[in-house]
């Protein structure tokens, strides 16, 4: 948006003209919008109207006392940061003011620097409080989405299985039913497989988010990982009449990371490339090792991704629902998980695509660099189990 950033408003309530003037000067110079009031009543009106982030209040004023002003200010807005200034600074007044809800205490006379310091600190704290509450709200929302979405995803296959079983129970024994029974058993098994995949994917995602799996930071060879993954998908690729190709001319493509996470990362990309491909199409995994960086690209000759979806592609529940693409089974989580993994490793993942021509997913990761005390041999973490990895250079 082309709007100029809004200036934060600060209200100063003090019956001393000199204080009001100097505060206004200091605060305006800091870039704030400063409004001053000479007594509590006007000040409270001003707070209600201007909705400031911070209020500077003098304790001893004619009319409503400073203490009462503080209490009333927080009635209007509990978030306002209140800084108390007074010419009679005693421990008692200080404590009383804090108890009333003041953030800090500034004895008169005070220097411009002292005021600046307290104002900045106070507003910073307010910003953090507001942000953390927003994050909490977001987290609660996500959790709700999670619960609704997952329960729906899991309910659908469960309902189908239940329905098959309940109908089988009620259907009379005929030859027709016998043939159907076999077919339906297969369908039930397929649906339970679907549920297992969903649960596995969600667990993976929550592990990555929750950092519960203590992640290794060891040397991993991506070439090895990629070739292993492609081997496991040979059968599926053949069934889909998709050919697989590897173009990684270097001996090894070394990065530092968690082997399991990297497997998940590339598994998602490769299985997508096979699933969303055209019959007779091709999946190419190519690698480039550059100065300090390793780039692995997974290219398919599939249906492609329309421009408008590319922003949303890595979102958690997003699945492209176009007329053209087959309705392929999936949780919509694969790419979200991949992106999460890449971000954790400080890398980047991008997609280039042309509708009906294909897509290329490019993953860039930092190349492995031996740390002090680590052996820099070419043996990577691939041949070892995770316990042994823990012993090696962490």
């Amino acid at each position: 948006m082309s709007e100029p950033a809004e200036r934060e408003t600060i209200v100063v309530i003090d019956d001393d003209y000199a204080i009001r003037l100097s505060c206004r000067k200091i605060l305006s110079k800091m870039g704030f919008r400063a409004e001053t009031f000479e007594d509590g009543a006007q000040g409270l009106e001003g707070v209600a109207r201007l909705k400031p982030g911070l209020a500077v209040v003098d304790l001893k004023m004619p009319g409503i006392s400073g203490m009462e002003v503080i209490a009333r200010v927080h009635e209007i807005d509990p978030e306002i940061v209140v800084v108390v200034i007074t010419g009679y600074p005693t421990i008692d007044t200080a404590v009383a003011a804090m108890k009333c809800g003041a953030y800090d205490f500034l004895p008169k006379p005070f220097s411009p620097d002292e005021l600046r310091l307290i104002v900045n600190r106070g507003l910073e704290r307010r910003r953090l409080a507001i942000e953390s509450r927003r994050a909490e709200v977001e987290r609660a929302l996500l959790k709700r989405r999670f619960v609704t979405f997952v329960s729906h995803q899991l309910q659908t296959p469960l309902v189908a299985i239940h329905q098959y079983l309940s109908v089988l129970k009620n259907l009379d024994d005929t030859d027709d039913a016998a043939a159907k029974r076999q077919q339906w058993f297969d369908r039930c098994l397929a649906r339970t497989g679907e549920m297992q995949t969903i649960i596995k994917d969600w667990l993976t995602l929550s592990r990555i988010e929750g950092d519960r799996l203590s992640r290794q930071r060891v040397k991993v060879d991506l070439k090895r990982i990629v070739t292993d993954i492609l081997a496991t998908y040979e059968e599926m690729a053949r069934r889909n009449t998709v050919s697989l190709e590897v173009r990684m001319p270097e001996d090894a493509y070394l990065v530092r990371g968690d082997r399991n996470c990297l497997i998940v990362l590339f598994d998602n990309l490769i299985v997508n490339a096979i699933k969303y491909n055209k019959p007779g199409g091709k999946v190419t995994v190519s690698g480039e090792a550059r100065e300090g960086e390793v780039e692995i690209s997974v290219t398919d000759t599939g249906v492609g991704i329309p421009e408008k979806y590319r922003q949303l592609l890595f979102d958690e529940f997003f699945r492209v629902e176009d007329e053209g693409s087959k309705k392929t089974a999936g949780t919509g989580l694969g790419l979200a998980i991949s992106k999460r993994i890449v971000s954790e490793m400080g890398g980047s993942i991008e997609v280039e695509s042309q509708v009906n021509a294909g897509s290329t997913f490019r993953v860039r990761l930092l190349a492995f660099r031996a740390q002090a005390g680590e052996e820099d041999n070419n043996r990577s973490a691939n041949e070892f189990t995770s316990e042994e990895d823990t012993d090696r250079g962490r």
Partner: protein
């Protein structure tokens, strides 16, 4: 006017309830462009569109329609086909609502046009606000806000649509949807004001219309019309896509035997070669230059004389549709004597 707000995430529910009031039509994507079309499911709707190819006038003034059937010696029977179909058109921009309001004046002036009126009455309009792009100049044409001609109007204020209820039908729609709508708070109205003011800054194409009719009058002999005549293909696309162009041809279609027949009305354009041809063979606007000059004159001068304001609403469709890129902003800028169009 009642002011409420609708959570954006409930829009699909709103659309499915509002179906009670008619077929739901909305902008839908088609080959990278947008068209108003009947929805078969809500997710087809693209409310964040820039402009549709054809404006809402295609519903009230269809490209082709039969006015009546006749039988020689017996009289005629007005055609009622499709006239009772109720439609809810969702996602109409302010400029298009404005265009409909202008067409309403044309078709309900001295001579009421029953087919137009009926279709207009049976079409509910749910408007939505928008952000201008490089071809939008509705603000210059004073058509960026409407105060009537819609049943509901949605203004985007973040997670909600601030909703203005325009008619009793709009109110019925709100009542039918029960608890979906909430009361709008002063904060919501503030947010609307903020966005409205930022939208004002976002216009890139500006056209000064204040003394434009006078300048048109003065520049009658300008060479610009010949220049344009050379470029123009007389394809009539600009008329087809214009929300306020209403020229139509009326022709009788006789059956074999010449006893029965129908009278049909179909879209025409002043740019078509035969538009000003009369019986006897005379064609008053033979040259393309004279035809394109007429279109501009009617839109920005003739319409003003008759209806008090130009017929153009600044939707930018003619700019998008013209195959030889004749740009109304350029034309007006040239008339005003400035070398380049005043777009930023």
């Amino acid at each position: 006017m009642k002011i409420l707000k609708l959570p954006k995430e409930k829009l699909d529910f709103f659309a499915s309830v509002v179906q009670q009031f008619g077929e739901v039509h909305a902008p839908v994507e088609q080959d990278g462009k947008y068209v108003f079309q009947r929805l078969s499911r809500w997710s087809e709707a693209r409310l964040d569109y820039d402009r549709t190819i054809l404006p809402p006038k295609k519903y009230t003034l269809p490209p082709r329609e039969t006015l009546f059937q006749y039988r020689a010696g017996q009289g005629y029977l007005p055609s009622t086909e499709g006239l009772d179909k109720r439609i809810v058109l969702m996602g109409v921009h302010a400029c298009d609502v404005y265009g409909l309001n202008l067409l309403d004046q044309v078709f309900s002036g001295r001579y009421d046009d029953p087919p137009y009126q009926t279709r207009r009455k049976n079409m509910a309009i749910i408007g939505i606000d928008c952000r201008p792009d490089g071809s939008c100049f509705c603000r210059s044409m004073r058509a960026d806000f409407v105060d009537r001609g819609f049943d509901l109007f949605f203004y985007d204020i973040g997670d909600y649509y601030l909703t203005l209820v325009g008619t009793a039908l709009g109110d019925d729609m709100v009542l039918a949807t029960g608890p979906l709508f909430e009361k709008a708070s002063p904060e919501d109205i503030d947010e609307y004001k903020r966005r409205s003011s930022s939208k004002r800054q976002a216009f890139q194409l500006e056209v000064e219309i204040r003394d434009l009719p006078e300048i048109f009058e003065m520049e009658y002999q300008s060479g610009i019309w010949d220049e344009l005549g050379e470029k123009c293909l007389s394809c009539g696309s600009c008329s087809m896509v214009c929300p306020t162009c209403y020229c139509h041809d009326v022709a009788d279609d006789a059956q074999l035997g010449s006893r029965d027949g129908g009278r049909n009305r179909s879209w025409d354009s002043c740019l078509f070669a035969a538009h000003a041809a009369v019986a006897g063979g005379e064609n008053f606007r033979n040259s393309r230059a004279s035809r394109i000059k007429l279109r501009y004159y009617h839109k920005h001068r003739g319409f003003v004389a008759e209806y008090g304001r130009p017929g153009c609403v600044g939707c930018g469709r003619c700019i998008a549709a013209c195959p030889v890129e004749i740009h109304i902003g350029d034309v007006i800028a040239k008339l005003r004597g400035i070398q380049n169009a005043p777009s930023r």
